[in-house]
């Protein structure tokens, strides 16, 4: 059911873990489904220097989390905010229809982390 890319990202997820000195953290969760994604950012000069995730969810949830961190790394915040669900799913060579909402979650978690960073650094 899953593409090879999804399986690869599930088996060897990129950027798993926490960042202790993260300056942006976003968490989204869909209580009805039970899945939770948490993204940690290190932003420097408006650029995502480091990013890590933790995810409780299905195979697609893990893979989309992994993919979104890869896509976001090195991007400016503006570029990262433009990362859409569709882009994440596409980068994974597609997701089964039932699992499309997982890609929403990954992008949402990223955006939440960026917003968190921006909130914290508004005054700057």
């Amino acid at each position: 059911m899953y593409s090879e890319k999804v399986m690869d990202h599930f088996e060897n997820p990129r950027n798993v873990g926490e960042i202790e000195n993260a300056n942006g953290i976003g968490q989204v969760g869909n209580p009805s489904c039970g899945d939770i994604m948490k993204i940690y950012l290190v932003v420097e000069d408006n650029i995502i220097k480091d990013i890590k995730f933790k995810t409780f969810g299905c195979g697609a949830a893990v893979a989309t989390s992994s993919m979104v961190t890869e896509l976001a790394k090195g991007k400016t915040l503006e570029e990262a905010l433009e990362l859409s669900n569709a882009a994440v799913a596409q980068a994974l060579d597609g997701l089964p229809p039932k699992k499309m909402h997982c890609s929403n979650l990954a992008a949402d978690a990223l955006h939440a982390a960026i917003k968190d960073y921006q909130e914290k650094h508004k005054s700057a």
């Binding site: 899953y2 399986m7 599930f10 088996e11 997820p13 798993v16 873990g17 926490e18 968490q27 209580p31 009805s32 489904c33 039970g34 899945d35 939770i36 994604m37 948490k38 933790k54 995810t55 409780f56 969810g57 299905c58 195979g59 949830a61 893990v62 039932k98």
Partner: protein, 387 residues
């Protein structure tokens, strides 16, 4: 890579003796059993012999055996047929919160059609309390449908006690024995039920064929499908002959080997349960500690989601399931695990390992070897495990 099939509750491989029994009916003996001529008669004879075998296997009379397209159809037929034939007597139906969807959704659909339904709760082991059944029966109760053994957690229900209570109150009992047949000795008179469901592909028979046992004298009628007059008007449509022959052969084989398989599987299952409980922390065994199917071990692993777990095991060649096969792939948490009083997060971490006669100690060893790393890796990724 080693492949280990631990999903016998979802479906079983067909016994080679069963395939051999079916083959002539896929080739040489192709007649329609309703046909008058020799091609029909030779097949009719085989279908009736199959009916006798099934009757023998569950202690019934051949006339009480109706062949269907599977467990789902048998459940629907049983419940709908009793409900509509006994409307004049009452409109109350009792079931439990841990039934298979084929039962639960049928009862709920009747609820929408004006029947009064009671869905009994279960204890933390998934067991229905016979006292609750007794208390729920009213003058209007016409049917109690409680499964023999649960497909997700393996808990064996006190069907015999429930049937005794029901009988004293003049209420019919249906039991879904899809998971128990071939694993627990099963006799319809001993159980005391009026209707009972079997599905061949759960006991090394083919998919797409099942049985509905209907005790003589039960006020029941085919109410779902209309058509020709096959199966003494109980199930219309040309009979799935190779399926019926295969089902009967499979029933014969599992009945003959019951004691031996039960002992063997109990040993494997206990080794598996012990191995998991001893080597993994934050895990609970779901289902009853002792009143459980000999082939079923089910757990919930904290901080882990079921599908990720299945996928990880699958990558190691191990086939397992999380909750019922029918609902995996859907995003709902299993109604059975919810009924045990588990939280959503815990329920999502469920893993069901259902063993079969071809599994070996080595299969269990391999699983126990692979599992810790799988659990550790997923927990490491889990935001829930932090705290």
């Amino acid at each position: 890579m080693r492949r280990v099939y631990f999903d016998h509750s979802a479906t079983t491989p067909i016994d080679t003796a069963v395939v051999d029994a079916m083959t002539p009916y896929l080739t040489e003996y192709f007649g329609n059993p309703s046909s008058f001529h020799s091609y029909g008669r030779e097949v009719r004879k085989a279908v009736e012999a199959a009916r006798e075998k099934v009757a023998l296997a569950i202690g019934a009379d051949p006339k009480e055996i109706t062949f269907t397209s599977g467990g789902t159809e048998s459940d629907n037929m049983a419940i709908h047929g009793v409900a509509y034939m006994n409307k004049n007597k009452g409109n109350h139906i009792i079931t439990s919160a841990v039934e298979h969807h084929a039962v639960l959704n049928t009862v709920k659909a009747l609820g929408k059609e004006g029947f009064d339904i009671t869905i009994l709760p279960v204890d933390k082991y998934g067991m229905v309390n016979p006292d609750d059944v007794a208390a729920a029966i009213t003058d209007k109760t016409i049917l109690i449908t409680i499964m023999h053994a649960n497909n997700e957690i393996g808990t064996i229900q006190p069907v015999k006690e429930i049937a005794a209570i029901a009988k004293a109150r003049g209420v019919y009992v249906h039991t879904d024995a899809v998971q128990s047949f071939g694993k627990i000795p099963l006799n319809v008179d001993d159980l005391g039920v009026n209707l009972l469901t079997l599905s061949a592909h759960k006991f090394y028979g083919p998919k797409g064929v099942g049985v509905l046992y209907i005790r003589k004298g039960t006020r029941w009628k085919q109410t779902l499908m209309h058509g020709g007059s096959q199966e003494r008007l109980r199930r219309t449509g040309t009979e799935n002959v190779p399926g019926i022959i295969g089902l009967a052969k499979a029933a014969e084989i599992v009945s003959a080997n019951l004691q031996k398989e039960q002992d063997y599987l109990t040993k494997l299952r206990d080794k598996l349960i012990k191995g998991v409980m001893d080597n993994i922390d934050k895990v609970i065994l779901t289902g009853h500690p002792t009143q459980r199917l000999c082939n079923l071990a089910s757990f919930c692993f904290e901080y882990i989601e079921g599908e990720s777990q299945l996928l990880s095991l699958d990558m190691k060649g191990i086939a397992a399931s999380s909750g019922s096969a029918c609902t995996s792939g859907s995003l709902e948490p299993s109604h059975v695990l919810m009924a045990l009083g588990l939280t959503h997060e815990i329920a999502h971490g469920s893993l069901r390992l259902s063993l079969g006669k071809d599994n070996t100690e080595e299969d269990v060893d391999y699983f126990l070897e692979v599992l810790p790393a799988v659990v550790q890796r997923l927990r490491m990724m889990s935001p829930l495990a932090e705290d």
